[in-house]
């Protein structure tokens, strides 16, 4: 440090009272002796006085509130909600809309899945649902005949079938769906031989002939359900969908309708409840779908107004699309909406 610099530093500290008593006394003595040193002191003292006389700048109104607000935003526990807070409303609305759509389409989809199911009975015929256990191939597999392959039961009218059955093919014939009592599965599976055409397989229907212990048999081929006309004259077409023709090579033919008087009737309680629920879902879905279709266009403009902090009047109404337009949400954004969205995105930090 130069001599002048050292002098200034000493004078500066002297003005602030930061010198030791000896140092301060030395400065006092020199000030009395040197006019140049005194001028230097006066210049520095004047500058210091000017500096210290300045008032602090007035703090802008609202600065403290802005600081507090920003601090609160950043101190919220969910990370950076300052960014996401503005999306909270539309995200919530979207979530609610998604929940509604799920509520609408879930039962609808379930209904359509049922219709497409090859095994499930058509929902338009509740009686078939009630008799579903009779049409499932599992009982015949679980309770095989003593000798296999065997025609478990032969439909009365399938006169050409004995040859196929005797050739080692097994059939299950889906009985025409009629509200009736449950057939005796043990009797059907225990039928030793095909019965003559036109005669009910009475022996096969006798539970007394059912072996007490099921006999293991060779695994049956993949069963198929065949609709076999019953002796009552009900056609297969009227009885429901034909899932496989009786003439196909591997068919498990179930015995024709056999009534066991002492066997309890299967009450269709669950299918009725299921149907009621599904029907309710369908109706509710149709109502909600109509409601959404009617209000989606208007709601989209409101939602965008909230997201972009832009009045709805500046955005204009969303443009409704044709219902059958591929990939359409039911509406299109206006140019003003797109601009507002872009500006809103640009303002995100």
């Amino acid at each position: 440090m130069s001599h002048e610099g050292a002098e200034f530093e000493q004078l500066s500290a002297f003005l602030d009272g930061r010198l030791s008593p000896d140092e301060a006394r030395a400065v006092q003595e020199r000030l009395e002796e040197s006019e140049q040193y005194r001028e230097l002191h006066d210049q520095l003292a004047s500058a210091r006085s000017v500096l210290r006389s300045t008032r602090p700048p007035a703090v802008p109104e609202g600065l403290l509130e802005d600081i507090k607000r920003e601090a609160e935003t950043h101190m919220q526990p969910s990370g950076s909600p300052g960014i996401w807070a503005r999306w909270r409303v539309p995200v919530g609305a979207i979530a609610a809309a998604a929940a509604v759509l799920l509520a609408v389409f879930s039962p609808w989809q379930a209904l359509h899945e049922d219709e497409d199911c090859e095994i499930c009975p058509p929902t338009s015929q509740p009686a078939a649902v009630a008799e579903a256990p009779m049409e499932e191939p599992q009982p015949a597999v679980d309770e095989p005949a003593e000798t296999a392959p065997v025609a478990v039961a032969q439909a009365p009218e399938s006169e050409t079938e004995p040859a196929a059955a005797s050739a080692g093919e097994t059939q299950i014939a889906a009985r025409p769906a009629t509200p009736a009592t449950r057939a005796s599965r043990p009797a059907a599976t225990a039928a030793p031989a095909p019965e003559p055409a036109g005669e009910p397989a009475e022996p096969a229907a006798q539970p007394d002939e059912t072996p007490e212990e099921p006999v293991e048999s060779e695994p049956l081929p993949e069963p198929q359900i065949a609709a076999v006309p019953s002796s009552t004259g009900v056609s297969a077409a009227s009885a429901g969908p034909v899932l496989s023709e009786p003439s196909q090579p591997t068919v498990l033919a179930r015995a024709p309708r056999t009534t066991i008087d002492d066997e309890p009737t299967l009450e269709p309680v669950v299918p009725d409840a299921l149907e009621t629920e599904m029907a309710t879902g369908v109706v509710a879905g149709m109502v909600l779908d109509q409601f959404i279709a009617e209000h989606m266009v208007e709601s989209s403009a409101t939602m965008l107004s909230v997201v972009t902090d832009t009045p709805t009047s500046e955005l204009g109404p969303a443009i409704a699309d044709e219902d059958d337009e591929a990939g359409s949400f039911g509406f299109s954004f206006t140019d003003a909406m797109r601009r507002a969205l872009t500006e809103s995105e640009n303002q995100l930090p």
Partner: protein
């Protein structure tokens, strides 16, 4: 910067007496611990205590144009770094906060310097010659010292002259003379030894005194903070 930018009352910056500081530090410690635990209200109280002083530092080092925004940014930086702050030894929240403020101001001055380098010199800038800077403006002969003293423009002139100093000298002068911190706290804020602070302060006062004398003699015209800022930014470049 208008005259309304300065308070008319006798409100002065918080002085850093050791007794006041220790009491303030204890109160700060409780607030800081609460704020670190997520108490936004506690941080708000800290902001209440120090926002005017931080704003004063920013205003005096960088001018009033962006002082509010920069002050807000400083508190946000402090909030983000708060969990790293520990009370031990002589460390105080106030000194730590002021350090953030001074560093933010120095960074802001450097940013302005880079921007000025890209945009080129201003027509308001003084002409640099071998004998020093020469103002482009005609000196205002009507500015006698007693008239200036009656004007709030004096305040503006002081800050314009301070803005001509290098960032380090500006910071020392701002903390000690304008914010009136004691040497120890100013040195802690600037993270420099006490002797270095004394030296910087003496040089800063000398430079200020010389320029202030030129201003009072009509040899230096201050055309607002822009011109003064550019001159000071050139000094930033030399200081680096």
């Amino acid at each position: 910067m208008g005259t309304e930018a300065f308070v008319d009352s006798e409100e002065l910056p918080v002085k850093a007496g050791s007794a006041d500081r220790s009491g303030g530090d204890r109160a700060d410690q409780a607030l800081v611990e609460s704020a670190k635990a997520g108490d936004a209200e506690a941080f708000g109280k800290l902001a209440e205590r120090y926002h005017s002083n931080v704003y004063g530092i920013v205003y005096r080092m960088c001018g009033g144009d962006d002082a509010a925004d920069l002050t807000q940014e400083i508190f946000l930086r402090a909030l983000k770094a708060l969990r790293k702050f520990q009370f031990h030894g002589d460390a105080s929240f106030r000194t730590w906060l002021y350090r953030i403020a001074v560093n933010a101001c120095i960074n802001e001055l450097r940013r302005r310097k880079r921007r000025a380098d890209v945009e080129g010199p201003s027509l308001d800038e003084d002409i640099q010659t071998d004998d020093g800077s020469v103002s482009r403006s005609v000196p205002d002969e009507t500015r006698s010292p007693h008239v200036l003293a009656e004007r709030a423009e004096v305040q503006r002139a002081v800050h314009a002259v301070v803005a001509m100093l290098s960032p380090k000298h500006r910071a020392a002068l701002t903390l000690v003379d304008l914010q009136q911190l004691d040497y120890e706290e100013a040195a802690a804020t600037l993270e420099c030894p006490l002797g270095t602070l004394k030296s910087r302060l003496a040089r800063a006062r000398k430079q200020f005194a010389e320029k202030w004398q030129q201003y009072q003699d009509g040899k230096l015209t201050l055309d607002g903070t822009v011109g003064a800022r550019i001159v000071a930014d050139e000094e930033i470049g030399r200081a680096r």
